[in-house]
Amino acid sequence: MKKLLYPAIALLVIASAVVPFACSKSISGRTDDAPALQPDKTDIDAGSWKPILLTSASEFAVAAPVATTTPEYIAQMNEIKSWQASLSDDEKNIVKYWSAGAILRWNEILRQLVAKHNLPPYQNDDGTYPFPSANNPLAYPQFPFANPPYAARAYAYVSAAQYDALVAAFYYKKLYNRPAPYKVDATINVLIPTSDLPSYPSEDAVVEGAAVEMLKLLFPGDQDYIQQKAEEHKRARIIAGANVRSDIEAGEALGKAVAQKFVTRARGDRAGAAAGTQTDWTKLETDCIAKGETPWYSLETPKRPPMLPMFGKVKAFLFDSLTAISLRPGPPPLTASSKMKDETEEIYNLTKDDSREHYRIVHFWADGVGTSTPPGHWDAIAAEDFIKKNYSEVRWARNMALLNMSLMDAAIVCWDTKYYYFNPRPSQMNPKIKTLTGVPNFPSYVSGHSTFSGAAATILSYIVPERASAYAAMAQEASLSRMLAGIHYRADCETGLDCGKHVGDYAVQRAKTDGAGN
């Protein structure tokens, strides 16, 4: 016995001394080392693609650039050269990070902002809840509470503004046709893949300018971080030899101007009133009781007002308000019906079987408090597929805009449905139901995850058809996860998926006619 034990112990002692130093703890994200964007095609004609809000690609004027032979241009070339004369590792890392793509990186930044702000406010001493204020974003509770509808809308506005700004930028790129610095002067040390795309105005700066302008509205308390990223992004393009300063300045100005149009729309899209008032919350309850149904109640202590009950009235991107209402599914099983009883029993039985595989599914898709929300998760899924597709920036933007408009409009239709029926959660119908993730603080029917996922899988299957079956399987699992978690009935999930597909179809229709091809 001793002969075996001594070597074993010696080994353990050595291992405990060596292993801590041998194993690295550093972790890397899936997109940290994303390759530099190298588009298969320049999409030089994207100036003719159909914009979302712009009346035309030339709605905002961009002045003609100075010629590449002028002293001013040569001075700007010298700026690149002086950066490149001594590059620090930090500067090289910045170039590497941003070269993966402007749309990708700003989408990731936005997902981070959403996750940071996706926190429900803590209650007041009297049991009421405070609401964040856009006018005082840094006071508790910080603005915004980036819950799923808020996040869906944020992703949509940023993506749509970036797309329109790029359509305009590509119009001027083709019009002015000023070559990239590395085409003008072969001695420039290019740190990114070269392209035949004209560089004025800079597509990166357009994307950055649009993002910065939109995020002033959406995340007003994070301006220091956003501005720091913006400066880094612009600098990366100059350091890389991809743009001269006038490319950047014209692009940023154009991006901001286009985004202003989206800011104006956002201020008037009724989202500002989506939280409702005590009168609205009471009316939802009494109207439901008047219909003879058991109304939804908050399962939190103290009872929290329902999340954004008026979000269903927000102005959609892909259809008008009457269409939004027409997409509302028929009613769920009556709360007193045997069908409802059966569906509640089904969920109770599912939660009793809280197997490890159920937790895996539930937690992978939960996207709850402190995360980038289900729309952010679908953006991540899409982005990681788009990286492999070698899209141009404008095609990246178009595809992200299609996805995110689908997700926002799915939120609108879903929230309209939730508050139209005001249906209770399974744990309200049967308090014995213990959930595998937190119960969201809004009515059950239809499932938000299912609606989001149905919409996302539909438009993504059009954009990346070879992944259609994978998207369908993911949407199915995301939907199922809410039943396994004990927070939705089967009817919520199945109807929600279906409803989301109908929303996604509107994005597919747009995609077929926007001039981008596929």
């Binding site: 034990l5 353990l12 995360t371």
Partner: protein, 321 residues
């Protein structure tokens, strides 16, 4: 140095080190200055209960009406084996259940982390009127099941593999003693079910870097014949990690710090020989990103003597070197 060849005297220290979970998971460590005799195995069951109603969200102490009281039950088998009089191995295999008294969240249950320690008495000498002994310990823990780590505060553990190195000194003067130790705990990264998470920035991966932990423990009290009665103060500091933000959920790589005050009692029966009872309790007096838990546990241990010549007879002798 007085060595206590008493049933289980050296073993079975429990709950002094809660593996840094809000709902405390228990792992055995050996944190006292007594050794198991060669070829003796002390083994037995432990039962523990721990609960908290208040917790620290970062440095802010609060309660959560949607959790109520979070409680943990722990059932484990622990043992110590004397390879020699100066070299012991210790092990612990716990089964843990958790639940919250309010809200809707589902309780958790499962076999948690097995731990194995090697304890070596490196120095043992009479200094002044008392006896000084010094120890070096190395330990490892490994999750025995694929339990969910990222469901705090109801997770049964953090699912990290750990390696620990501990230095310890013990001084006994008459019937009273003091023991002090310091431990560095290396923790491996873990994988969670999510594919992205936010700490103080976004991480687009399911892998979580777990900060290492430093603990200090000082204990003092009465140790004579078949009774040990002691009080201890224990501090754990997570070397890194981040605070739970306002009204957010906890996360495995939070900066979980705690200072505990506790007591540990052991009584060894004369009849039947080799049987002893253990009772211990502790209370968190200060913390950060942990629950303010009160923990109690009890155990029953028996010594098996594998020495061929003198079966079990030595267990009640007190020997003095």
């Amino acid at each position: 140095m007085i060595q206590f060849w008493k049933a289980c005297r050296q073993s079975c220290l429990l709950i002094t080190f809660l593996i840094l979970v809000l709902a405390p998971a228990m792992a055995q460590t050996d944190i006292d200055g007594i050794m198991m005799k060669k070829n003796n195995l002390c083994i037995g069951p432990m039962f523990g209960y721990s609960s908290w109603k208040h917790y620290w969200e970062g440095t802010l102490k609060r309660e959560n009406l949607n959790l109520g009281t979070v409680s943990t039950h722990m059932y484990s088998v622990m043992g110590v084996f004397g390879i020699s009089d100066k070299l012991n191995v210790l092990f612990d295999v716990p089964y843990v259940t958790t639940k919250a008294s309010a809200g809707t969240l589902h309780g958790q249950k499962g076999i948690q982390d097995a731990s194995l320690w090697v304890k070596y008495m490196a120095f043992d000498k009479t200094i002044g009127k008392g006896d000084l002994s010094l120890y070096a310990l190395a330990g490892a823990s490994v999750p025995l099941s694929n339990y969910v780590a990222d469901f705090l505060p109801l997770s049964i553990g953090l699912h990290s593999k750990t390696f620990s190195l501990r230095a310890m000194g013990d001084y006994q003067l008459g019937k009273f003693f003091v023991t002090a130790s310091g431990t560095y705990i290396y923790r491996s990264n873990i994988k969670i079910d999510r594919d992205a998470y936010y700490t103080t920035e976004m991480h687009y991966t399911n892998e979580v870097s777990m900060p290492d932990v430093l603990t200090f423990n000082i204990r003092t009290g009465y140790r004579h014949n078949n009774v040990v009665a002691e009080a201890f103060l224990d501090n754990q500091t997570t070397l890194g990690g981040f605070d739970i933000t306002r009204n957010n959920m906890p996360f495995p790589s939070n900066k979980m710090n705690a200072t505990r005050l506790g007591t540990w009692l052991k009584y060894e029966l004369n009849v039947p020989r080799g049987l002893s009872l253990i009772a211990t309790g502790n209370y968190v007096i200060a913390g950060r990103n942990v629950g303010q838990s009160t923990s109690i546990s009890g155990g029953l241990f028996y010594i098996l003597d594998f020495n061929k010549k003198k079966p079990a007879s030595s267990s009640l002798q007190q020997q003095t070197k």
